[in-house]
Symmetry: C2
Subunit: 239 residues, 2 copies
């Protein structure tokens, strides 16, 4: 019981933690961290998360090597290369490129985690690879759910619970949010998609017409790359 | 689906809600709202929650009709009448009296909820009475977990889930925290005490030697009084 394995259920609760004491895992399953994990797996040199469309657009002037991703209400913003769908992060599109990605909840969580021992990204598609790496580290671990507009959401919590499931019993002391996340995951794991259908978020996503994206985001262990924050860029973690 | 039934998992998330739109239920199962529900049931004229021991002590000068309750590290503070144990709130002690109670988490949640349509208190001991009253109201309901030092705790979340269990299906639209709380409650309900044993909070409470209090706090439907906030006092709700 030397190390702590804790879950921060929303970015609004991050001030309660001393991030300096942890490796932080940022979780924004629908869709930012899934798309980023997939893009890094597929050879993107780096992915830069920003919160505002304007911030993203500013990269246009820095050169043609940047791909700009921005969506509003489920549609690619005019003048941008693509949106936030993981299907845009295939090797033919992103290999060797730097992608600037607009993501509100994920960027917010990242910014608040600056100062952590390390900041990595997790999603169902890199679940086991992430957990295997975390097992080799000898640090406290804080799983940060990006949530929805600073509040709790189920999909990020379920993923946190999936990580707890792989790490529990390994000399970690868990907190109440970790216990809750793990129990919710155990309840949902045999049918993640079915479980999430009862959430309000699910309605919202259906209205946006991104059901195929959502199904993709619930694939487990498709990839092995772990994005890590270096300066303001997410790059592939090299052991 | 006219009304909303939502759960605010910690007071730190209260700024995300417009409390004016809701009847707020404050939940601090271990032990503040349990003791208050029990005291009001047992004839206390009013209970005044304050956050600081000094604030509580100041009432001594206002007259002998006040009973002062304050604890630090599980012991009654010297010069006070009793601590926060629900066993102190029996008819012989509190009937006709006004009790000034020191409670950090509960008071914090109360203060942040000022402005709500109504603020009532819930605990397992008044669960069904509370739910029956809530069913007669035609307002949005926000269940506010007092939590632990502004963060999520399991016991308050389980109680929120118990309320959701009685109200769901009754034309309420629930949010993700309400769904999660309800699922955790369903998992724990047959053995609340056993379920809570795995929490870190449980260790802390054991160290404080208040296991009998905790067992009491998990009794369901012992009482029917519902404390409601009027000015700065909690009094018995009269339909």
């Amino acid at each position: 019981m030397n190390k702590r394995l804790e879950v921060c259920l929303t970015p609004a609760l991050l001030p309660l933690y001393k991030v300096e004491d942890y490796i932080v895992v940022i979780i924004d399953v629908f869709r930012a961290t899934t798309s980023i994990c997939y893009g890094i797996e597929n050879g993107a040199e780096a992915i830069i998360p920003v919160s505002q469309v304007e911030e993203c657009a500013a990269y246009r002037e820095k050169g043609l090597n940047y791909l700009l991703a921005a969506e509003r209400d489920g549609a690619v913003v005019s003048g941008f290369d693509f949106g936030n769908s993981p299907f845009s992060y295939t090797p033919d599109k992103v290999s060797g490129k730097t992608v600037v990605l607009t993501t509100t909840n994920g960027t917010h969580a990242l910014h608040l985690s600056i100062g952590a021992k390390k900041i990595v990204l997790g999603a169902f598609i890199n679940l086991t690879a992430l957990c295997n790496w975390l097992k080799t580290q000898h640090e406290n671990i804080l799983l940060v759910c990006a949530g929805w507009k600073n509040n709790f959401n189920l999909e990020d919590t379920l993923f946190a619970g999936a990580v707890v499931e792989q790490l529990k019993g390994l000399q970690f002391k868990t907190d109440d949010p970790a216990i809750a996340a793990n129990d919710l995951y155990l309840l949902a794991k045999d049918d993640l998609s079915g479980y999430l259908k009862k959430t309000s978020h699910s309605d919202r996503l259906k209205q946006l017409g991104i059901e195929a994206d959502i199904a993709f985001c619930l694939n487990v262990d498709m990839t092995t790359a772990i994005p890590v924050l270096q300066q303001n860029k997410l790059v592939k973690l090299t052991a």
